[in-house]
Amino acid sequence: MTEFNLIQIAIAILFLPLVGFAFVLFLGKKIKSAYLVEVGILILTFLLTAVLLFNKLYWFADKNIVSEFSWISYKNIAVFGNISIDLGFLLDNLSVIMIFTVALISMLVHIFSIAYMAGDKLYNRYFAYLGLFTFSMSGIVLTHNILMMYVFWELVGISSYLLIGFWYEKKSAPDAGKKAFLVNRIGDIGMFSGIMMLFNTYHTFTFEKIFAQMASGTLPFNSEFWLTVTGLLLFCGAIGKSAQFPLHVWLPDAMEGPTPVSALIHAATMVAAGVFLVCRIFPMLTGDALFIIAVIGALSALIPATIALTQNDIKKVLAYSTVSQLGYMVMALGVGAYKFAFFHLITHAFFKACLFLGSGSVIHAMHHEQDITKMGGLKKKLPLTYATFLIASLALSGIPLTSGFLSKDGILQGTFAFGSLTGYWLFPAVGFVVAMLTAFYMFRLIILTFHGEPKNKEKYDHAHESPFVMAMPLVVLSALSIFIWYTPNPINADAGLFLGKWIKTPSLSVPQNARYSFMKTDLVPEGKAENNRDISNEVKKEGTAEGKEVIYSEAYTEAMHHAHYPAMFLSLFVALTGIVFAFVFYYWKKISADKLARDIKPFYKLSFNKWYFDEIYNATFVTFTMLSSRVLAWFDNTIVDGIVNGAATVTRMISFFTGRFDNIVVDGLVNLMAYLSGFIGLVLRRFQTGRVQTYIVLVVFSLVIILYLFKTF
């Protein structure tokens, strides 16, 4: 395998689903089984990503493979110089692991959908859209420049729009699709502004080149402040796509889409794109930017977790849980725990996809019943679904031996370390509270759905375990929720190749003094280290470069190490507490949940009504936009056009008066002249008698007068 082969494979991975999309879209009407082509393509794509993953990690683990094809190029133009916009591939460990995850889940969802969507009248169209989505998502992952990422970002947005609104005959589905697209676009405007800023400064879109120029000191508008702003603007894209506070409102509504879509797009892959974006731009995020990102992440982790406690729709609970977990990842990135954020992204993708497909299996069995208060006792009817759902829930709750335990623990460890270094203990506090809430609402969900007595006897009786094509993905995904795939040591993720070798925190391009103090790197002459910085006792020598020693602050690593066991035990403790509470409330029913809800009614209502975000946004932004649009339309019609029509009216009035003037005065004068000449003619006619005698008299008379006049003067 050469690097070139890998690029070829990457091209195939990217475009195969697009071929499937086009094929199924155009021939889906004629060929009933066109969807099999799409499924086949996805299986092939998955196999290719497996080949890519293996070869990249085995042969080129420490190398980034880049290849680009020119899309638009400008040679030597004014202001910008040479501009080249490329369709480029960046194969690093991050992207190959991500693409493998995307292809795997996408394939499983395709297979799952064969049964789940059976009988739908737009069956083939559905698979076409899935193909479009897989293409776009692969683009985000594989591209090496920010503009192409934005291109695929928008394409992902539109495939999400199409899939959420797939059942377009319902009113709510297109509503949700539209909302998702528009809310995402708000974030995208921010992201696009960031791209403009980057392009304006670096005249390129390629990540590597931008980071290289940044490392050598070129900053947007030559200031660290604007670098922070640029980073945050790009992060706006992630806020939209990863449904972070305050743009998280679209994700729960997006559950209107078919459940496998929710699993693929709104749990495992698309919403993770935001986190992936932050991973990609991590080297250019300043300390201030990271801090704000951490705050957004913490809020997004906490608020939806409180909402998930009281929701009754099985998919809504999972949706809020997804927002919360994405918040976790974002918070982790914000506090500098890059590796664990990405790790959690991958583990979460598997177990959350498993949960969603599991909920799909339940919904399928219950004939499209989604309300968990109407379920119960399904354990016996759906044993396989129950088992896989349970494993995934344990992973989400962070119970040992699962992948979720490792990644979540890593994140908590990161926040803990951050707290100990900077004094912001609020982040670990939020982390642990959310961990407890997560365990609680997941087990509430499990108990209400699978345990106890069936609430709806009729639907319960008709419930049946799902067919093989639906069960198989569940088994695969739950198997991937076990620790063994990531590390041989169930309590230490660093022991595995995943974090030990493949995923490393990238080196920062941000100027030293704009970083978190514990992330500074310096080239310091030998022996001077002690004098140079306050945290020098935590500074460690790490190899030499050209006579100077590279001093790398390992304060953070050190703090992480110290945080490992406290964080682990504490997280295990809060998770178990959450589970126990869930059992107390819903299984043993020692405390009545309803009574508690009544006792703390304001909080309950706040949670149940999702903190009234939708209502607030509707009352402000939506109303404002609609109102201003109506006002402007009125203004346009009445004032602007009124002036035009008014000008016409005035002109007509003036013309009326000039017309009258013309008629009466001007024409009157003309007529007067005519009349006068007529009158004169009338008078003079008297003299024209035609008789010679009269003329002679007149001539003589005239002569006399003329002679008299001559004589006088």
């Binding site: 403009m196 936009t625 339309a633």
Partner: protein, 534 residues
């Protein structure tokens, strides 16, 4: 190619068709339609020919030597007026990277609009005769390089348009037609005044060394040709260049149409028959922006530089105001008309950037808006033909009833909201990137990005109200597309997708000219500074 006068041919071929149609008996409607179709078809082929033999390296703009397919000979020559000297008007045609996209667009849209005219059954002879005259006028504007000739073509297209709206239009056609006519005529008067002013300020040196006044646009761009005392000459300390610029700009801005001169557009669109709406949005609006780029920029580079903030600001107003107004419309066609206003704002914003990326984006947006909006108006026309109403709320669920039609609509809507992979994306992106790079208009550019949110808002909302949901009982009779409608939508869709995937094809075409324009504008900054410094 030799000396074959291909530009004259492409311009005046429709006139030949018009004469043939006028000679035909009244009832030969199918023959008339076929003749029009063949003529516009030949135009497309000729335009393809122009494209095929086009030299990408030649810039044009102000340098006559780098224009292509030049045809130049004396048209009108009157000698003997002592105080004027000689009146000399050239028949001067030629194209560069600014005009060739417009020539292509005109040819394509004319052809598609011919198909859209197929169902005209009232006074067919008159319709197609006027239609062909209109096509000549439009094509002429984009190839003329003599200002007088430009003005003649500009006026030539006005008259048929008036009758086409006024006779074949909807219920309020007379109001709309007269509004369109008077508004545009007002603009024309402004343009004419400036044409005359420029004529008496510019002198061209003849081969024998004598100097004569000239209407040659390219001569007007060269400061050496200005008469020192001319009222529009930069050397004259009391020159009226600023006022002339504003007048000329308004003349063109009415056509764009720029806020606040835009209210003729929704009325004209709503009343015009589908084909004429397609022409109006597809080609006519581009004449405004084309005129600004072709005349205002290179003839008045000094004033342009001063006014650049205003151009961008009005672009921004167009984008946001148009989008918000579109959102409030209840009539489908009116909504598309306002979206047109919004999208033309991007062109103005891009023009104001004064750099290659932004101006490329602007010209590309002109082309893309032409194809996308043409498609949108065809889409409106298709539903109006069937349902005889355009009220958005009267519809719903057409996706079930007319799936293929809905598919095309979705494509056009997505292109209009700037979805990557479709042509609108790259032009909008370039406009923004270019605008942001120019410090003067940076803030305006950032505010204008709101347009992509609002655009998505009203487009998706419309899509939902008309196409999604359930079909009302009374629309269960609507039929999906027929062959003619395919023939209109498919070529436009292919162009939209092709330019979305491979925008370089169009960008490279205009590249040299855009660069020449940017260079000219940059150079002239210093040049005019030194002249007015006298």
């Amino acid at each position: 190619m030799g000396n074959f006068p291909i530009l004259s041919f492409i311009t005046f071929l429709p006139i030949v068709g018009m004469i043939i149609i006028l000679c035909l008996p009244k009832n030969q409607t199918l023959v008339m339609k076929s003749i029009t179709l063949v003529i516009t078809g030949i135009q497309v082929i000729l335009a393809g020919f122009l494209l095929y033999h086009y030299n990408y390296g030649m810039g044009g703009i102000n340098n006559p030597a780098t224009f292509q397919y030049i045809e130049k000979f004396r048209w009108i020559e009157i000698s003997g007026f002592s105080w004027i000297g000689k009146i000399k008007i050239d028949y001067f045609l030629g194209i560069d990277g600014l005009s060739i996209p417009m020539v292509l667009l005109t040819a394509i849209i004319s052809f598609v609009a011919t198909l859209a005219s197929w169902k005209i059954d009232k006074a067919v002879k008159g319709y197609f005769a006027l239609y062909l005259l209109l096509v000549t006028g439009m094509m002429g504007v984009f190839v003329a390089l003599d200002f007088f000739l430009f003005y003649v073509f500009w006026e030539l297209m006005l008259l048929p348009m008036y009758f086409l709206i006024g006779i074949w239009g909807g219920p309020r056609r007379e109001y709309a037609a007269i509004k369109f006519f008077l508004y545009t005529l007002l603009g024309s008067v402004f343009i004419l005044l400036v044409v005359i002013g420029l004529y008496f300020s510019t002198m061209e040196t003849m081969i024998d060394g004598t100097k004569v006044f000239t209407f040659n646009m390219l001569s007007m761009m060269d400061t050496h040709n200005f008469v020192a005392t001319g009222i529009l000459s930069p050397m004259n300390p009391h020159n009226l260049r600023f006022i002339a610029y504003i007048a000329l700009f308004i003349g063109f801005a009415i056509k764009i149409p720029m806020f606040p001169f835009h209210t003729w557009l929704p009325d004209a669109h709503v009343e015009a028959p589908t084909a004429i709406s397609v022409i109006l949005a597809g080609v006519l609006l581009k004449m405004g922006t084309y005129g600004i780029l072709r005349v205002c920029y290179p003839v008045f580079p000094d004033i342009t530089q001063k006014m650049i903030w205003w151009i961008a600001a009005f672009g921004m107003i167009n984008i946001i105001y148009g989008a918000l107004c579109a959102m409030a419309q209840k009539d489908f066609k009116r909504l598309i008309a306002y979206s047109s206003i919004s999208h033309m704002g991007y062109v103005m914003l891009g023009m104001a950037s004064l750099n290659s990326i932004g101006i490329s984006g602007a010209v590309l947006q002109m082309f893309n808006h032409g194809t996308i909006t043409a498609m949108l108006f065809i889409i409106v026309g298709i539903i109006y033909d069937r349902a005889h109403t355009r009220e958005i709320d009267a519809f719903g669920g057409l996706a079930t009833q007319m799936p293929i039609y809905t598919g095309f609509t979705t494509l056009a809507f997505f292109a209009a909201i700037g979805l990557p992979g479709l042509s609108g994306f790259i032009s909008e992106t370039f406009v923004f990137l270019g605008g942001f790079a120019f410090e003067t208009i940076r803030v305006i550019t950032v505010i204008s990005t709101l347009g992509i949110l609002l655009g998505a808002g009203y487009m998706l909302w419309t899509l939902q109200r008309i196409y999604l949901g359930t079909v009302p009982e009374k629309w269960k009779v609507l039929k999906d597309l027929d062959f003619r409608e395919y023939a209109m939508l498919v070529p436009l869709s292919i162009i939209i997708i092709f330019l979305g995937v491979y925008p370089s094809s169009m960008l490279n075409l205009m590249n040299s000219s855009v660069n020449a324009m940017v260079k000219f504008m940059m150079d002239s900054k210093a040049l005019y500074g030194s002249i007015t410094g006298f």
